[in-house]
Symmetry: C3
């Protein structure tokens, strides 16, 4: 596909600098783009590659237009404009509608003819798909689960019974939806399983990264709002609710019954305790732990970055003694105050 | 299914308050239960919903019976009583015994007729199942592995060759049992793989959460005791042993050759080093790291919870200087002592 | 298979102590090996088992040969010699070449007759395998992906389209290669997906542990060098590059666009931020976080090990006040200096 730069400018509301007939057929990085490719500059760390870029055009902010050696599209948010232009230049493959003969679909499943069911997929009784749903190879969908229009499950996804996936959702390979929450009660004879009879409800436009797990609710449901975006290897425990448009980076975990607000950004490997509430618009830095509710929007962190190990060992040892350090300081303050009084 | 409250009281040893003929057909939360549902109150955080509950009955402790506006079952451990009553009200679906035509089962596999082998499951030669085993869609079981009576493997589980799974085990979707331990030896030409020839042995009544991995032993076996309960995305490395009735929450990892005692509770995202021993009855708080053996039962932690990032940056910067702080304090103590001696 | 100890000594360059005709047929641990088994001693923690070992022979270092009660092979690096000898004694099962009738292979896929394609595997159009490739049960390989000679994909692996896997690679169960990177751009209407059009390129001799995920690049590729070894549940984000012979332990995560050097060792559960560079030969201790580039080789850490919770609570509380502690110390230093001046 080839598009003229002028068309892209008009379609995505950018200001065009340079020749309007510049032909664009793909995207490329500032550093390595070749003729016919459009690049973007959003992260200031890559500004150094602008002067020598071989891209045919660059999407960037007003301030940088003057130093761009090639045609450019000036956008209020260059990364957002890039996202939309890239999607136009690199459209998803079209559905190959139909049920593959090596798929196993229950007679009671409702599968519109616009859907693609790939080889090895297993759809249980009562499954109901919307229009143009794509079920990837070797996916398994349990009884009575529902998938909305235009959603796509890639390879090896497992959806347990009774779950609901909204429209335009994208579930990456190996995702598990609706597994049992970790509910166990202690008895004299060991742990007794607490039945997990709730479900998982995913809103519309939800994306879930490879090998993430969303547990079903214990009694009520686990619910992810519209537009929630989840990276790989994230764990969402039973009865969690995640507000609309919250994004959660890889390997984070949210413990049971916690409510995460809307438009939050949870950095990678964050750990959020159970039975707490996170306000809207909270940004958690990667590697942070959250033990208590966060009531105010804002940026939070508890991550500590590395030091050379010999230095770190001293730090860690001193940290273990910080209570003594504080007590010694208090004693010294008292003593100095007394000395002062005496010497007064 | 409908059960009279009086029957539940008798069967689960609870004291009945209210009408014995109250009909119960499902469970519900205190907050949202409707007529015909039984709820429970174990976490004090939910006591506020008791006065207005619409449940037909509530399972709770003696102290709270007086404030319950509806019928109730008084139990020594309300959560445990709830677990058992919920299991009775919401029984697991019955097995649909037989081998699905789209399963691939080796002729030398031993599959009792009471087992259910789902579509897409692949069972290699020498696999041996006990009675009433359920193998979910697209599971793969390697050569000579054994699964005990009444165990259930849900969708997309992978069991390598030569592993043993006990009776009444439940393996959730995407679990991997018997993958190679991370054994590599350095050479001039790069890493040389150390063959992993041990196996994985799971006891009876083990539950393993979605997408958890249990590596096979390097020479001897990796062993999980009876009644061990493991949440999602947990990693158990080669040659680990986990004692009976230990519970491990999501995203925790146990490194190679470590021995974890019995009845431990490992919080989520805990990191346990290799070649150490954790005593029985140790409770690790979520997000903790364990570098050395823990010899005494008790509660341990090293988790730090978030602060607003501007405050946290100061804390982290000071922490990096804690060694200097301690030295300055010691110098000051010396100096004050000297001053005092001088002023005496 | 039985081999004489003398043959092993010659083949692997070890010095033989004891009877050259000692017959070896398997490996065993120092503690539990029986007749016919060879063991090794590399970790000093296991030296206590040497005196009573029932192994027929032990691989160990020169210094320990004298205290070995049985035949031994003296090696410069006993663990490395063990790795090679164990591989000889416990060879991998031979390929069972051919395409299983329950596999689904596109007509346009190139599958040499030396390959083994297991039941339930789904290979899309344009897939190209080298010689003697083994594709495990229920694996899914996307369009135009390439796998080099002698590589092995175990059960339930998902490879997206357009990825390249080198020769002699080993991908464990449930691995996901080529999933979309977590690229999203904020808009007024919520997150807009940034198309991920790069690929994943794995070098030769790469091993990837169970349920690890390697995301495809946003524009350019995500690249793992030759001899890279990755443990279970590791997450490699888009556009990461990992240098040759780097080893990454379980549950670690590397964020987008970061460059990790060659021959690094990344401990378990490490968290590495995006857009940074880690030098060659860096060793990160398990549980460490890396926020900034590491320019010098060496050992780094930020891990804190547990304390009993009552002690830890005091430490954590004091840590939150460390800024005040430092300020009080500075004030006291000033005051003592003034007192001293006054008393001088």
């Amino acid at each position: 596909m080839t598009i003229l730069l002028a068309e892209l400018a008009v379609r995505y509301g950018c200001e065009l600098h340079g020749h309007p007939d510049t032909e664009i057929s793909a995207v490329g990085t500032l550093k390595d783009a070749r003729e016919g490719e459009i690049s973007f500059l959003a992260n200031p760390g890559y500004r150094k590659f602008l002067a020598t870029t071989q891209a045919s055009a660059v999407i960037l902010s007003k301030e940088l237009a003057a130093e761009c050696p090639v045609a450019c599209l000036v956008a209020a948010d260059p990364y957002l404009a890039y996202a939309r232009i890239a999607a136009e230049l690199h459209p998803l493959p079209e559905l190959n509608a139909g049920v593959h003969p090596a798929a196993v679909v229950s007679e009671s499943a409702v599968i519109p003819s616009s859907c693609e069911i790939s080889a090895g997929a297993v759809l249980a009784s009562g499954v109901k798909l919307g229009e143009r749903v794509s079920i990837g190879p070797n996916c398994v969908i349990g009884e009575n689960s529902v998938v909305g229009d235009d959603s796509c499950l890639l390879a090896n996804v497992s959806v347990y019974d009774g779950c609901e996936i909204g429209s335009r959702c994208l579930l990456h390979a190996g995702v598990v939806i609706g597994s049992d929450g970790f509910g166990i009660a202690k008895s004299e004879q060991g742990w007794v399983k607490v039945p997990q009879i709730g479900a998982v409800i995913l809103g519309d436009d939800v994306e879930i990264g490879a090998l993430s797990t969303i547990d079903r609710g214990a009694i009520e449901n686990t619910v992810l709002g519209n537009g929630v975006k989840i990276d790989n290897q994230v764990q969402i425990a039973h009865n969690v609710t995640v507000g609309d448009h919250t994004a959660i980076a890889a390997q984070s975990g949210i413990s049971g019954s916690t409510k995460v607000g809307a438009r939050c950004i949870i950095g990678g490997k964050a750990a959020i305790a159970g039975h707490i509430e996170i306000a809207d618009d909270v940004y958690l830095q990667g590697g942070s732990g959250v033990a208590n509710s966060i009531k105010d929007s804002g940026i939070y962190s508890s991550a500590i970055s590395v030091e050379p190990v010999t230095k770190w060992r001293r730090i860690a040892a001193r940290l273990k003694n910080i209570d003594k350090i504080a007590k010694r300081l208090a004693a010294l303050e008292k003593r100095v105050a007394k000395n002062k009084n005496r010497s007064d």
